[in-house]
Amino acid sequence: MSAQTLYDKLWASHVVREEDDGTVLLYIDRHLVHEVTSPQAFEGLKMAQRPLWRVSSIVATADHNTPTDHWEDGIKDPVSRQQVETLDANIKAFGALAYFPFRDRGQGIVHVMGPEQGATLPGMTVVCGDSHTSTHGAFGALAHGIGTSEVEHVMATQCLVAKKSRNMLVRVEGDLGTGVTAKDVALAIIGRIGTAGGTGYAIEFGGSAIRSLSIEGRMTLCNMAIEAGARSGLVGVDEKTIAYVKDRPFAPKGELWDKAVAYWQTLHSDEGARFDTVVEMRAEDIRPQVTWGTSPEMVTDIGGRVPDPARESDPVRKASIERALTYMGLVPDTPISEIPVDIVFIGSCTNSRIEDLRAAAEVARGRRKAESVERVLVVPGSGLVKAQAEAEGLDKVFIEAGFEWREPGCSMCLAMNADRLQPGQRCASTSNRNFEGRQGQGGRTHLVSPAMAAAAAVTGRFVDVRAL
């Protein structure tokens, strides 16, 4: 057999049948479910009197709507509460392998919860009604977001109707400098190829800089593949992957573990495998990144400046920059390091894992929130991350620095709960999208790494964390 990419292998091993036009029934191993994109799917099953094809493929949690403070009061917003209670009722009626409801110790952002429970395993197909499902590709799993009709389709048939994507390799060679993180790599890649650069592709991230990343870092990177337009991001399996998965609650044990590991070790692109597109980057060229606009591709590094639309010749792009600067309240050519921030948000499925909190705490330790910063929210990705952070004393570091230590959830990444920006507020955020209104109507989002967010919190503006 000719050399295959990792994506080719994962795809081929899940094809149930193929039509003449290349449309495939793709078998789905793991279906992650949350409250926002599932109610209409369960409703569809009920109306057609269809059962779940495979109950044990489903792992569910409530994350988008849940509050991150005063859990004793429950969910105050009645519309949010109804959505979460609808998930409770649907799981009760239909069943699941596991359910981590609101206030459960295992509850968390679905893309943090899945891997930490061992519900995401190498070689699986993983879907969820959420675009950041690409996160799970960090394990050498084929993972992508789907819409609600597809959620219902997978529930009823265990399959997706799908067409194969093309293969892209983004290779980052060299050593990342101190203070340069997976988030900076992700933003630098998006800055290079654009938010539609990966459309129609599955992106595999390779090269020595990617291999050197922890599993948490690889999750951050794959999480943002969708912001480059690719539904799936992938990193090949290595010893770090296997070490991360071992002994997790839903990981295989004993003889099955050995058998699984033997298979997982084949989950990497073969020598000489052909990619349709290859993008090469040098790790040494990547500096801490900050977005300045309303699309993740509108990004520069901490030494950069806000662009001047007058220098852009493409009329559509020029209009986009003008709109973005108006929305963001920024003047052309302003140095990034002179932009003050009002709010800092450390959390989201991109950057709320223990490693992210450690990086933020390292910067916050012994420092105080700047007077000019109104509030700093630290929202752990799950109950287990929260417990781990507290065991390490990180919560105290944040509280002593004047940051707020919250309960887990999606929170201000998309502002479906009460955590949101007010119009005109400027936020340094570790989340994944700086779209207009994303963190609250009129809110202004700058995407950064956890360390850069913490540095902005203690200085009141964007600063190079490496010089702090």
């Binding site: 191993d29 994109t37 269809r50 539609a196 099955l256 559509v316």
Partner: protein, 212 residues
């Protein structure tokens, strides 16, 4: 699903690149547990001057007269003309639900984001990719001529302008078949239930840890 065969519809031009699903339907409306009723909140933050929340009487809200959807000449539009990377961002199917509920049956753009593109087909909303220079011309024609309409023929895979110019577009045979006939895709897939079971049995033998 509503079948799609032919459409002769008024065109509304939305001249912005990278229109994301947060713009198409803001997050507060995702709290609904229904599939319908999203039309009044389509492009909510651009369309109204106040902050929208679920349960508001949208007919009493102040509209933004600068936003193209509110121009009287585009009332009743069924074809949305858009720019590159339309529908980027989240997987929320509420985005095509909102477009469809508003009355759009087709979106024409030089490119679409993958998940949004896929979601459209599940809802009788036809996403049509045309070359960027053709889209440029359609924008110019549409803005120059009030009452500008386009005719879409799915069986023939064509878009026809008022001057009789015809542009072809691509669609997979499977999607075309489902749209033309308004088919329930789950029902179609379940016709292959035996094959799915056979695949599962094979996989259970080869990778038993996935079924433990």
């Amino acid at each position: 699903m509503k079948a799609f065969t032919t459409l002769d519809g008024l065109v509304c031009p939305l001249d912005r690149a990278n229109v994301d699903t947060d713009a198409i339907i803001p997050k507060q409306f995702l709290k609904s547990i229904k599939r319908s009723g999203f039309g009044p909140n389509l492009f909510d933050e651009w369309r109204y001057l106040d902050h929208g929340e679920p349960g508001m009487d949208n007919s009493r809200r102040p509209v933004n007269p600068q936003f193209v959807l509110n121009f009287p000449r585009y009332h009743g539009a069924q074809v949305l003309l858009a720019r590159e990377n339309f529908g980027c961002g989240s997987s929320r199917e509420h985005a095509p639900w909102a477009l469809e509920d508003y009355g759009f049956r087709a979106v024409i753009a030089p490119s679409f984001a993958d998940i949004f593109f896929n979601n459209c087909y599940k809802n009788g909303l036809l996403p049509i990719v045309l070359p960027a220079d053709v889209v440029d011309r359609l924008f110019a024609e549409c803005e120059a001529s009030e009452g500008y309409r386009l005719t879409v023929d799915l069986a023939a895979q064509t878009v026809t302008t008022p001057a009789g110019e015809v542009f072809g577009f691509e669609i997979t045979a499977h999607r075309k078949h489902c749209l033309l006939n308004g088919l329930d895709e789950i029902g179609l897939t379940l016709q292959h239930a035996d094959e799915i079971r056979a695949y599962e049995a094979r996989r259970r033998a080869e990778q038993p840890w996935l079924f433990a």
